[in-house]
C-alpha cells in the first residue's frame, strides 16, 4: 500500500482534474493555470538538475525551452497543419504522434545543450553563467532572423493539431498531456538522481576533483545531466507552444530564464520537492497578482495618497514578486526546502508514501 499510495493519489488527482475540466466544472482559465503550473514544474525541476544538483549556475534555461517549442511546433504544423501545404499525416494518428513530436523537440533541445555542457568541462561558476546567457541570446536572435518560421513575428498554426485531437474526442487534451509530461519529468529526474549513477551529479557538485579521481566520468555525467535538463525543458516548450498556439522568440528571453532560476532557488538548491512546491507557489502568485482587484486592494493606501496614480496589475505584479522573493531570501537564505526533500523535513510523511 505504502509503495503505491503516492501513485494512486496522483492518478486520482489527475483523473479528477480531467473530469472536472471535461464537464466544465473548472473553466478554461483555471485549466490554463493548471497547465502553466505543470510547465513551470517541468522547467524548475529540470533546471534544478543543473543548478541545484550539479551546482552549476546556468541562466539560459529558456533557450532550450525555445528550441523545443519551435521544433515541435514546426513538426506539428508539418504533420497536421495546413500552413506548409497539405498535412503529412492523417489526423487520426495525432494521439500517437503528438507525444512523439514533443519528445523530438526535447531531443533536439537536449542535443543543443552541448553548447553549454562542452564548455563546462573546463569552466564553472560565473563563466558558465555567461556562456549560458550568451547561448540564450544567441538562440533567440537566431530564430528572430529565420524568416521562414516567422522571425520575430512569431510562429503559429499548432492549434490545428489540438483541434485534430478534439475531433477524435472532445476533451481537455492539452491538460491531459501536460499532466502526463509533468509526472514523466518528475519521475525521470527522481529515478535518475536517486540512482548511484545519478549521484555522480551530486558528487561533481560537492567536489569535482574527488569525483573524477574516484572513477566518476565527470564529463560524461555532465553531458548527460545537461541533456536531461535541456531535453525536459524542450518538452515543456513543446507543450507550452501547443497550449498557447503561438510562439514568439521573445517569450523565451532572459526573463523566462529568470523565472526558472527563481523557482529553483526559491525551492532550495537540489531539492526536487522544493522545486515542485516553489513552481506551484510561484505560478499561483503570478496568477493571483494578475487580478487588478487584488492589486488595487493591496495598494489602496498608496493610491489614496496619490489619486492620480493608476497602477496596472501586470506591472505591479513584477514589483511585488521580486520584492517578496527578496524578503523570503532574507528569512530563509537557503530557499523553502534547503537541499532537503519533503520526506526529510516531515519524517512522518515517509510512513505514508514511497517515492521512486
Amino acid at each position: 500500500m505504502k509503495k503505491y499510495s503516492l501513485n494512486i493519489l496522483l492518478v486520482v488527482f489527475a483523473i479528477g482534474l480531467l473530469f472536472a475540466a471535461h464537464f466544465r466544472i473548472i473553466d478554461s482559465y483555471i485549466q490554463i493555470v493548471f497547465m502553466t503550473i505543470g510547465i513551470n514544474i517541468m522547467m524548475s525541476t529540470s533546471l534544478n538538475l543543473v543548478n541545484g544538483n550539479m551546482g552549476e549556475f546556468t541562466c539560459g534555461h529558456a533557450a532550450f525551452m525555445c528550441i523545443g517549442a519551435y521544433i515541435s511546433s514546426i513538426l506539428s504544423v508539418f504533420c497536421f497543419g495546413s500552413k506548409f501545404g497539405d498535412p503529412l499525416l492523417p489526423a487520426a494518428s495525432v494521439l500517437i504522434v503528438f507525444p512523439i513530436i514533443v519528445l523530438i523537440g526535447g531531443a533536439v533541445a537536449a542535443v543543443s545543450s552541448l553548447l553549454v555542457s562542452v564548455p563546462s568541462f573546463k569552466t564553472r561558476d560565473d563563466y558558465l553563467a555567461i556562456i549560458s546567457i550568451a547561448v540564450n541570446y544567441m538562440i533567440i536572435s537566431a530564430i528572430e532572423n529565420m524568416d521562414f518560421i516567422g522571425g520575430s513575428r512569431g510562429f503559429q498554426g499548432m492549434k490545428d493539431t489540438v483541434w485534430a485531437m478534439i475531433d477524435i474526442f472532445d476533451g481537455p487534451w492539452m491538460l491531459f498531456w501536460v499532466i502526463n509530461f509533468t509526472i514523466f519529468t518528475v519521475w525521470v529526474i527522481r529515478r535518475f538522481i536517486s540512482s548511484t549513477y545519478g549521484k555522480g551529479v551530486n558528487a561533481i557538485c560537492q567536489d569535482e576533483v574527488a569525483a573524477e579521481i574516484m572513477s566518476v566520468n565527470t564529463n560524461k555525467i555532465k553531458i548527460i545531466n545537461f541533456m536531461v535538463a535541456a531535453g525536459l525543458a524542450g518538452c515543456a516548450g513543446g507543450l507550452y507552444s501547443h497550449i498557447i498556439g503561438y510562439v514568439n522568440p521573445q517569450s523565451f528571453n532572459i526573463l523566462k530564464s529568470t523565472e526558472a532560476l527563481v523557482m529553483v532557488y526559491l525551492g532550495g538548491m537540489g531539492s526536487l520537492s522544493g522545486a515542485v512546491i516553489s513552481a506551484i507557489i510561484f505560478t499561483g502568485l503570478l496568477e493571483v497578482l494578475r487580478s487588478q482587484a487584488i492589486i488595487d486592494g493591496l495598494l489602496s493606501p498608496v493610491t489614496m495618497m496619490f489619486p492620480d496614480w493608476e497602477p496596472s496589475a501586470g506591472v505591479i505584479k513584477w514589483v511585488m514578486i521580486p520584492l517578496l522573493l527578496v524578503i523570503v531570501m532574507q528569512f530563509r537564505p537557503e530557499g523553502i526546502m534547503g537541499n532537503r526533500e519533503l520526506g526529510d523535513v516531515f519524517p512522518k510523511l515517509k510512513k505514508f508514501y514511497r517515492f521512486k
Binding site: 519521475w187 574527488a210 574516484m214 564529463n219
Partner: protein, 266 residues
Amino acid sequence: MMAQSQVQTENAPVLEVNSLSQRFGGLTAVDNFNVKLMSGELTGLIGPNGAGKTTVFNLVSGFYQPTEGQILVDGKPTAGFKPHKVTSLGVARTFQNIRLWNDMTVFDNIRVAQHYWLGYGFFHSVIRSKRYKKREAKVAQEAQELLEVFDLQRFKEELPKNLPYGTQRKLEIARALSTHPKLLLLDEPAAGLNSHDVKDLIRLIRWIHEKFDVSIWMIEHHMDVVMELCSHIKVIDFGQTIAEGTPDEIRNHPAVITAYLGDDNI
C-alpha cells in the same frame, strides 16, 4: 571478498614510472623521476615541503598530464587518460586535505566511488531495469561490506562533515578502496591526527595492506609512520630524487639530512 583478492603474480610491477618530468611554466616540479612498485609492496615517498611529492601523485593518478616520461599501471601506459580511467585501471588515492562529498551520506560516498564498474547508464537508471537492480544490489553489498570491515557501519547514514577528523580519514581510505585498487596512493594520511590516532592509523594501514592485498604508496611527514610501515622509501627534493632505500639507510643518508635540516655551511 574483493575482486582483487585473487592471487596475483608475485613481483610484477604494479606501477612503473620512467623518467617522469613535469614543468609548470619555468618551474620544474618533478624532474626525471623513476620508480617501480612491485605488487604487494608498501613504499614511502618523503621530502621537504614543496618537493613535488603531491605532484608525483597527481601525475600518477592522471590529474596532470606529464610534460615528459611514461607511466605504466599494471604494464599499461596511461598517457592521455583522464583520472577516472586511471582509477578504473586500479590506482586509487586519498587527498592531503580530506575531500569527501560532504553532503552525501557515508554510504553514498562509498557507493558513488564504484562508478567505474556500475555497468548501467541513464536509461537503465530511469526504467529501473533488471540490470540496474542487479548492479545496484552488488554495489550496495560491496559498500556494506566495506563499512562493516572498517567499522563505519554506525555512521552509514551520517554526513561525513559531522564525523570526527580521524573517522573522516578512515572513510576516505575506505572510499578509495571501494574502487578496487591494485595500488593505493595515500597523500599524508596522518596529517592533522594526534599521536593516538597516528598509532591507530599505522595499525589500519598495515591491516589494509594485508587484508586487501593492495600495494600502498604513501606520502607522509610523520617519520615514525613511514619508518615503521614502509619497506622501501624514496626521498625527493626540488623535484629530484635524492635518496632511496630501506628505512635504516634513509635515516642516516647525508643528502636526506641536508634536505631536511639544511646545510651546515649556511
